[in-house]
């Protein structure tokens, strides 16, 4: 039976982690390659990197990071942040990532999803979807609106409708981030996670809000998510990936222990 996945997410700027990652032995790491290696050894099922560099120069540095990660870890990893063309996707995949994540650029030009799926296969194309609770309206029947540019810009798109459209266009997976829950550590936004997961056939990764091990369990059971993205809960040495997975295993969820 397919295991539920736990996926740490690392933000990278100019080739370095934006905030250090702290491990058990109080080791602080700023190098994304070293952090990736530690999470790999702890049993991360995948790793996600977001490049929040703005400049072209920074992008070149980031591709070097992707190459070094690919030489250091032997699990899948994906890359997102500012990708807006097939040639940029190709650069990242050739550098060694398995998947690319499209977010704002796909909203602006949905054909990017289809072009990416055609060129690299659906398995390589993840839709990053940032959703904000607005309450149901005629235009947004699900009550969740797609927002872009890190949550600053509302799009008028219904989150559920966009998720289904992305699936039709060929996205292989949806990483669903709740802007309301993001950073709160009060738990994932279960309603939107469940709604999207029940209405698409591709896997949904819940993102935003993890603060305690129970939150992961809720998203993977009640929320119907296939995977959970984790950041602060693991970066600041409150829980190791291994402990989180042991917790999920004891609750009866299928997880991979290394």
């Amino acid at each position: 039976m397919l295991s539920k996945r736990v996926i740490p997410c690392l933000d990278v700027r100019d080739g370095l982690l934006t905030k250090g990652v702290r491990f058990r032995e109080n080791l602080d790491l700023g190098d994304p390659v070293e952090a990736a290696r530690r999470y790999y050894e702890e049993g991360a099922d995948e790793i996600v990197f977001y490049d929040i560099t703005a400049s072209a120069e920074g992008r070149g540095i980031f591709l070097g990071v992707v190459e070094r990660v690919a030489e250091a870890i032997f699990i899948p990893f994906s890359v997102g942040g500012g990708l807006s063309s097939v040639s940029q996707m190709r650069d990242v995949l050739l550098a060694g990532a398995e998947k690319i994540s499209l977010n704002s650029a796909a909203v602006r030009d949905p054909r990017l999803i289809a072009q990416g799926a055609e060129a690299f296969g659906s398995q390589a194309v993840v839709l990053g979807l940032d959703a904000r609770r607005v309450g149901p309206t005629a235009h947004i029947p699900s009550g969740y609106e797609v927002v872009i540019n890190g949550g600053r810009v509302p799009t008028g798109l219904d989150a559920l409708a966009w998720a289904r459209k992305a699936e039709e266009l060929g996205a292989g997976e949806i990483c669903l981030n709740s802007i309301d829950a993001d950073g709160t550590q009060d738990g994932y936004e279960l309603d939107v996670t469940r709604m999207v997961a029940q209405n698409v056939r591709i896997p949904v990764i819940a993102s935003g809000g993890a603060g305690r091990p129970e939150h992961l369990f809720q998203a993977l059971s009640d929320g119907h998510a296939s995977a959970v993205l984790v950041a602060s809960i693991v970066h600041y040495n409150r829980h190791s990936i291994k402990d989180l997975k042991e917790f999920l295993r004891q609750r009866g969820l299928p997880v991979r222990m290394v």
């Binding site: 039976m1 099922d45 030489e71 398995e98």
Partner: protein, 214 residues
Amino acid sequence: MLAIIDYRAGNQTSVKRALDHLGIPSEIASDPDVLERAEGLIFPGVGAAGQAMRVISSTGLDQAMRRLAAGGRPMLGICLGCQIMLESSEENQTRTLGLLPGRTVRFPDGLDDHDGRPIRVPHMGWNTVRFRKRSPLWAGLRPDDQFYFVHSFYPSPAEELVLGLTWHGQDFCSVYGREGLWALQFHPEKSGRPGLAILSNFYRYCREAGNHAQ
């Protein structure tokens, strides 16, 4: 030296990085002469069967692979490579290499998981394999070891060739072959420790097979 067969289907470099990490000498190659002098062949692949077979046929790789397989050269197919070692694929209705009897089929619609929820296709993520027989290829692995899968089609070889089963709404064949000619639906190069162990085991087998042959 292991040759990683290059037919422009994606993940040769991932396999190469894993072998480099293990200290196993390898070359990414499409030249039949290079394949000829390799101790073993790795036949990887990501993508669709139709396009893959067009490239393989147009470059003459199909004939080289049939000849080497028939001559007993050890070979390890991975993912798409695993599928197109059989005779045909439902993907793009393609005639494939036919190194072993069987065909590649798609996960049927309407399957439910153990929790009663519909399974998702592609089958993407980590899953276990119930190995049926002993083999030098998976020596030293634990029964609960998991492997990384990403696929919508799976191999359906002749029954006697099935070596491992995995559950995704139903049992499907995730490992098949015979000694020296193995096919894995999962990605050993992306499956952490147990996947790397399989690649090491394959190289060790190739070296020993080569020594016996001399």
